[in-house]
């Protein structure tokens, strides 16, 4: 089941493209010190201080910021934190959604009522304004609060769809058989149900990571992140606050956004591929 899934996934062109883009970003993140010409917070080298607001030159391929940082190096190093926050948030969100979806869908009854109820509320409360309000109350600015806030507000949709899938899988024969045989419910959940919703879990992970990457960039752009951290979102924040646009400094605000979009696209592609693979209606007669 899971193997078939992976095979189809690898064979799918869209998934492959997404996977390639993602791997490239991962490679850039891991080998940032080798690839980047300078340190992200370096303002001078043997030849002296870096110029401020420099245009692209052979030394600074994407110019420098108002503070004299090399933009290309920041872009490369920024991959690390951006990717980390996005993926970690994606993982936490998926995990919460999965746990709640499984509990609610399999055990039903009271727990389900409570979870479903909270879920519907989280579904209708617009997340970005909530995130902004929460983030502005948190006085410690940093990566961790961003991850927490994004996960706190991001799980609802995933939990909802996982729950309904679990509900339908648990009506299936093999689950009923296991129940009649008196199998431990946790074993049923992990061995019988989980493998059957794996594509949905993957889809949840891809969508929530995509949402997290965009959410992270947005928060940082507004200035609600740690503005001294090096991420694509904070790069855009500094660019905007120093009127990069009006200085015609496209090399400052264009690349970080492009990278955010590319990274997002890679997850969108994989998500789309999963949809295509797991929707029997598209494949069936």
């Amino acid at each position: 089941m899971i193997k078939d899934m992976l095979k189809l996934f690898i064979e799918n062109k869209k998934a492959m493209l997404g996977l390639i883009i993602l791997s490239m970003f991962i490679i850039v993140a891991v080998f940032a010190p080798l690839i980047a010409p300078f340190e992200p917070k370096q303002r001078e080298d043997a030849a002296g201080e870096f110029p401020l607001r420099s245009e692209p030159t052979s030394k600074h391929l994407l110019g420098t910021t108002h503070a004299g940082y090399d933009i290309l190096s920041r872009l490369i190093y920024g991959t690390r934190l951006t990717l980390l926050v996005g993926m970690v948030t994606g993982i936490i969100t998926t995990f919460v959604a999965l746990a709640l979806g499984l509990i609610s869908g399999y055990f039903k009854g009271r727990v389900d009522d409570v979870i479903s109820f909270v879920n519907s509320i989280f579904l209708v409360i617009p997340s970005l304004p909530l995130i902004i309000v929460v983030a502005s109350y948190i006085t410690i600015k940093g990566v961790l609060p961003i991850i927490l806030v994004l996960s706190l507000t991001g799980w609802a949709w995933g939990a909802r769809v996982i729950r309904s899938q679990v509900l339908s899988v648990s009506e299936r024969e093999f689950v009923k058989v296991a129940e009649v045989l008196g199998e431990n419910p946790f074993i049923i959940v992990f061995r019988e149900i989980l493998p059957n919703i794996i594509s949905l879990v993957m889809a949840t992970f891809f969508t929530s990571t995509l949402a997290a990457i965009i959410g992270e960039a947005t928060l940082e752009f507004i200035g609600l992140g740690n503005v001294s951290a090096v991420t694509w979102g904070t790069m855009l924040y500094w660019a905007q606050n120093n009127a990069a646009l009006l200085y015609n400094a496209w090399w400052w605000f264009l690349p970080p956004g492009l990278f955010i979009g590319l990274l997002g696209t890679s997850f969108a592609l994989m998500n789309f591929a999963i949809d295509e693979i797991s929707n029997p209606k598209i494949r069936k007669r």
Binding site: V124, I125, P126, L128, P129, I132, S136, L236, F267, K281
Partner: protein, 327 residues
């Protein structure tokens, strides 16, 4: 009718929950940081300080229940406290100036993107084997992966800065006022085009993808085959048999999407310095105008809840199964 009652109850309840969250959030903050914030904002008028103290629940002389009651009473009277950044203006007055802009811009842009997105989604699902459909799908999958604000920045850069075809920001040029009548309206439309385009195009992909997937599911249904076998016209099959069934679940999917779209639109306002709620939210964050911040959150939430309610009612009108409570 039971459905209608249920949805109405839910609307009321959800608004109540939103009010409560709004009340609790600042109170979750430990007392000291709140004091620090107040102290940071020195030079405040006493009335503003009261407003903040109330917002943070620092009125230690009152029990939390009394505070909650006061809060509900105040809100029901339209009293949201005093704005800090616009002192001594009342929060409600400040907000009231921004609301029409946002409702106008976002409302029109969202409706447009829903209509276009739905039409496109139906079209590309209908011709899902064609290369053009694939290209459109790919394009919007790509666009959807960018934050709205960046997309906004790019449009401003190319179409307002490099080529000064559109204004850089604002809702109308400063030289015109309501007294100018038609010129004023023209200026508003002119200024709204670019931010409107950003919101429309960015959110379009979302609707399109949803409707496309629903449509593909519906097209595999037996009743579509029956419709073809019956010899109905293409238009009847496409619209009355396929699209109508495909649109239903996407209206109910509105809940999540709408909150999402609103979020993006708010940030778009920031990029365009568009004097709506989003831009005001941005300013409130920067100037730590907590009473205003809270009021904005409340308004957006209530707005989304009401839109959801409207969507629920729309579904009721379009889907006989829901009308009968059969689904």
């Amino acid at each position: 009718m039971r459905y209608f009652l249920r949805r109405t109850m839910w609307l009321i309840f959800a608004i109540f929950v939103a009010l409560t969250i709004n009340f609790i959030l600042p109170r979750l903050m430990p007392g000291d940081p709140a004091m620090i914030i107040i102290n940071q904002l020195d030079g405040l008028q006493p009335q503003a300080i009261d407003s903040i103290r109330a917002a943070f629940g620092l009125e230690t002389d009152k029990s939390i229940f009394v505070q909650y009651w006061d809060y509900l009473v105040n809100i029901s009277q339209g009293d949201l406290g005093v704005s800090i950044s616009h002192y001594p203006a009342k929060v409600w007055d400040v907000l009231a100036k921004a609301l029409p802009w946002t409702i106008g811009l976002m409302g029109i842009a969202t409706v447009l993107s829903f209509i276009f997105g739905t039409m496109l989604g139906i079209a590309i699902a209908w011709k899902r084997k064609s290369k053009v459909s694939d290209a459109i799908l790919g394009l919007f999958l790509f666009i959807r992966s960018f934050p709205y604000f960046w997309f906004g920045l790019i449009l401003v850069y190319f179409f307002a800065f490099k080529n000064p075809w559109f204004p850089l920001g604002g809702a109308h040029s400063i030289s015109v006022t309501t007294a100018d009548g038609w010129a004023y309206i023209k200026s508003i439309i002119y200024h709204g085009l670019l931010p409107g385009a950003v919101i429309t195009i960015s959110s379009l992909g979302y609707w399109m993808l949803t409707i496309r997937n629903n449509m593909i599911n519906v097209l595999a249904e037996d009743y579509i085959t029956v419709a073809k076998a019956k010899g109905l016209s293409i238009n009847r099959i496409k619209n009355t048999y396929a699209a109508r069934n495909a649109i239903l679940p996407s209206i109910s999917g509105f809940a999540m999407a709408f909150g999402f779209v609103i979020g993006g639109s708010l940030v778009t306002e920031m990029v365009f310095s568009y004097p709506g709620v989003g831009f005001m939210l941005f300013q409130a964050v920067q100037q730590q105008d907590y009473p205003l911040l809270q009021a904005i959150f409340l308004f957006i939430t209530v707005g989304v809840l009401i839109s959801n309610f409207i969507a629920d009612i729309l579904i009721m009108l379009l889907d006989p199964r829901i009308r009968d409570g059969a689904k």
